[in-house]
């Protein structure tokens, strides 16, 4: 009786993924976060578009997060198959640059539409968005319009992400730091009683919010567009804050170790071309960096004023301290 089971087990093991056969064409490997590479993300469309002209195979390898993709390259060292890391953001740019793993991209990014003119010799910006608290209009008639409002709103609950593991969580730390500087710890103390929970990643936070566990969730100004366009649902909105909103620019960089730097450069140039940028808004739900059509749902979104952004070097130097302050406030210390 056991013998057929053992056989079945061995057979099952044998059909587990078989490596794809190598082709003559070069393969360009891009490490990115999971949602970017997913069937419903920008990955498949970009692959189709780029492979039409590049005489190569474009291969997206998904890590669980963008920082996961960077860590993976660091772990793999020189043996990495990655040519490009795509999906890091401005808050991590300083850290990523300090690893010395990235090579200059040599692409002229001056024509790209990035707020505050963010640019870097090593990284090409390919989309952007702003952190914001998202709420359900049918349940919250009078949303707060500043961190002070939020702190004073009786019984208002929010769910946020852990700054140590999720980029929006880190974004909130930088947002409050950029807006309040030295007074940031007291702002955090004001927020703490409203925080129902701190999740490890953006998706669990957003999921809790959608299930009704909190009145607001830390997300992006563009989140409501997803519901509007994909679900024809106009219940959700982002609360405009008087302090302004912190900018997140998503960036991609070529690895020093890549044997295909030219090809990698061509892909980055394609990534910021109008053709590729047209895919971004309705697959990644972020703003494109090139002119082009955006879904109707983007029209009514919150326009941040002012746009907040701290210098990369300052973020890299101090984010550890700022995170510690925020966590202490949340833990009631």
């Amino acid at each position: 009786m056991f013998r057929p089971l053992v056989l079945a087990a061995l057979l099952a093991f044998a059909v587990a993924p078989v490596a794809a056969s190598a082709a003559d064409k070069p393969t360009l490997t891009v490490y990115t976060y999971d949602a970017f590479a997913a069937d419903w993300g920008p990955g498949p469309g970009l692959k189709q578009g780029f492979e039409k002209t590049c005489a190569c195979t474009l291969d997206f390898v998904a890590a669980d997060s963008s920082i996961g993709a960077l860590r993976r390259v660091q772990l793999e060292g020189r043996t990495t198959r990655a040519d490009i890391v795509l999906g890091l953001d401005t808050a991590l740019a300083g850290t990523a640059e300090a690893t010395g793993l990235f090579a200059p991209h040599g692409i002229d990014t001056t024509a790209l539409k990035v707020p505050n003119g963010w640019s870097s010799p090593d990284f090409v910006p390919f989309d952007y968005g702003y952190f914001a608290f998202v709420y359900d209009k049918t349940k919250l008639a009078d949303p707060p319009h500043s961190f002070k409002d939020l702190a004073g709103a009786d019984g208002l609950t929010i769910v946020i992400e852990d700054p140590r593991s999720a980029t929006p969580g880190l974004g909130l730390v930088l947002w409050i730091e950029a807006a309040y500087g030295d007074k940031a710890p007291s702002v955090w103390s004001g927020l703490a009683p409203h925080v129902v929970t701190v999740t490890p990643d953006w998706s669990s936070a957003y999921d809790l919010f959608l299930k009704g566990e909190a009145d607001m969730v830390l997300s992006y100004t563009t989140s409501p567009a997803y519901h509007l366009v994909e679900e024809q649902n106009d219940r959700y909105a982002a609360a405009a804050f008087d302090e302004g909103h912190y900018l997140q620019v998503e960036i991609a960089g070529i690895l020093q170790s890549s044997p295909h730097k030219d090809l990698a450069g061509k892909f980055l140039a394609y990534l910021v071309s109008p053709e590729a940028q047209a895919l971004i808004p309705h697959t990644n739900w972020m703003y494109p960096v090139a002119d082009g059509p955006v879904p109707d749902g983007f029209a009514g979104l919150v326009a941040p004023d002012p746009v907040l952004l701290l210098p990369d070097a300052e973020v890299a130097a101090h984010s550890g301290d700022w995170i510690a302050e925020a966590l202490d406030a949340l833990a009631g210390k």
Binding site: A9, P17, W40, T197, V198, D201, L208, E213
Partner: protein, 525 residues
């Protein structure tokens, strides 16, 4: 009466145990030597605070789980009803339910917008927030109290009929009966059980993160996660992992040394001695309460299953299903082999010290943080120049086999030890070889336990999230990986359906494998 040490039974298991200890040491050493790849984080976490909070939470979880587990086992032992067998199988299944699935279920029932509050709303009532220490304890109880009941119930169900007859003829009152007959059977299992539950709670991760409500309730495991994933401070990660290992070892080693193997085996029909009416009624009420508290969240998860049909059109879904089953099936068999070898070595070992030394590495694996292990395996694969896609299935099987091992041991060891006592003379007289002994005596007598161990090994790999987080790629996707990705892409309905499917597969394994193994044994006999 211990057997004279049988070296042919002792060595294979001892080798497995020492190989595990060596593996843990090697993985930690690899990370330590790779710390140059990372950065030195500016903020060493407050270890004393973390230890205090973690120990408090784990201590409460352990105490409550044991009490609830005993109550549940008592109630089930005193009642006979249709579906009892299924319910008992479900108790063991809840242990392997991925933490994230439990958290989803708890929120669906007790959350602000959950079933309970939806029912209370018309009356202007609501429960308090589920986040915080209370939420963590509840979710842990759901997993650990049911596990405790699954371990303890067989001890009550297999009490010798003669003992029960004697007690009955003496007219023991319910409380005296518990104290004189039940408690002595339960007590030997408690230290080992407490150690396992404490370890589970101490290293709990997704539940603490999701239901904990924030940094105030965080555990060491979370700090390790942060050190590895964000700060990439590998030195700190190893240091924290060692603190966790040391704290857990302080508890595990004594229990591994002193928790004696008990008498319970599944052989023989169970005798039934019902309680007088008021106590029978109490048992029914307690069982109903437990079913309500523990069953409802799982029912809430399962209620999302119909949405799985929406995934049938996606090739990735079928690929992930095949991969998940292809990895979980060998895990089941490898777990069984390891557990059998270690359990027989432990049984064959002459001294308590040796028994403890053999069992400790298997439990120590529980104390090593999953994120650290996955990282260690990753570095190992790199140093051996094994491509990630080749290493992924092997690591997933190995890592999860080792995670399942402590539970598999707690299932298999008591039965093996009891057989040893009962058949020591026969075996010695017949000069049975190790293989004959397994085939002729142990496999038929322990068929049900073997089925449970297979289910355990199967489910741990099936639900794995920590290895796949580092090793998952486009070419190697499993169902939990797909679930995580769906959650990360506004596809929470898909994620819920996948969670339901995972739960269903786990339950099915626990319901199907033990009777299947028993039937196989009977067919051969």
């Amino acid at each position: 009466m211990p057997l004279p040490a049988n070296s042919r039974r002792l060595w294979p298991g001892a080798l497995v145990a020492f190989a595990i200890a060596g593996l843990i040491a090697a993985l930690l050493a690899l990370i330590w030597s790779a710390r140059g790849l990372g950065t030195a984080g500016p903020h060493p976490p407050d270890i004393a605070h973390l230890l205090r909070m973690t120990a408090l939470q784990a201590g409460l979880t352990t105490g409550l789980s044991l009490v609830a587990g005993i109550v549940l086992a008592w109630a089930l032992n005193r009642l006979r009803f249709a579906g009892r067998r299924t319910l008992v199988a479900l108790l063991s299944a809840s242990l392997v339910t991925p933490g994230i699935v439990v958290a989803i279920g708890v929120l669906a029932v007790w959350g602000r917008a959950g079933w309970i509050n939806a029912g209370l709303a018309p009356f202007g009532l609501s429960t308090g927030p589920v986040f915080g220490l209370g939420g963590i304890l509840y979710a842990h109880l759901l997993l650990d109290a049911t596990y405790a009941a699954a371990v303890l119930l067989p001890r009550l169900d297999t009490l010798p009929a003669t003992r029960l007859r004697l007690g009955r003829s003496l007219g023991l009152a319910p409380l005296r009966r518990f104290a004189l007959i039940d408690w002595p059977a339960l007590r030997p299992a408690l230290p080992g059980l407490a150690a396992v539950i404490f370890l589970l709670a101490f290293t709990s991760f997704p539940i603490v993160l999701i239901l904990g409500g924030g940094p105030a309730n965080q555990t060491l495991e979370v700090a390790i996660y942060a050190a590895v994933r964000r700060d990439f401070d590998l030195g700190a990660a190893v240091a924290l992992a060692l603190v966790q290992l040391a704290a857990c070892a302080l508890l595990v080693l004594p229990t591994a040394l002193f928790a004696p193997a008990a008498i319970a085996t599944s052989a023989g029909r169970t005798a039934f001695w019902p309680e007088p009416r008021p106590f029978a009624a109490l048992a029914i009420v307690l069982l109903a309460l437990a079913l309500f508290a523990f069953g409802l969240p799982l029912a809430a998860v399962l209620s999302a299953l119909p949405a799985i049909a929406g995934l049938f059109g996606q090739p990735a879904f079928w690929q992930a299903t095949v991969t998940s089953l292809a990895v979980a099936t060998p895990s089941a068999f490898v777990t069984l082999v390891f557990a059998y070898l270690v359990a027989s070595a432990r049984t064959a070992a002459g001294s308590r010290l040796l028994k403890g030394l053999i069992a400790a590495p298997a439990s120590a694996y529980l104390a090593v943080p999953g994120v650290t292990l996955a990282l260690g395996f990753f570095l190992l694969a790199r140093d051996l120049s094994i491509p990630v896609s080749t290493a992924a299935p092997l690591v997933l099987v190995l890592a999860n086999t080792l995670l399942a091992l402590p539970f598999a041991l707690s299932i298999l060891t008591p039965g093996l030890a009891a057989l040893d006592r009962r058949h020591a003379r026969t075996i010695a007289g017949l000069r049975l070889s190790v293989a004959r002994r397994l085939w002729a005596i142990e496999a038929p007598a322990l068929a049900r336990e073997i089925g449970l161990v297979l289910a355990m090994g199967f489910c741990f790999s099936l639900g794995d999230l920590s290895v796949i987080a580092l090793f998952g790629t486009e070419d190697f996707q499993t169902l939990p990986w797909l679930m995580n990705r769906a959650m990360g892409a506004y596809r929470s309905n898909d994620a819920a359906a996948l969670a339901a499917l995972l739960l269903l597969l786990s339950v099915a394994a626990f319901l199907a494998l033990p009777p299947l193994a028993e039937r196989a044994a009977r067919a051969r006999a």
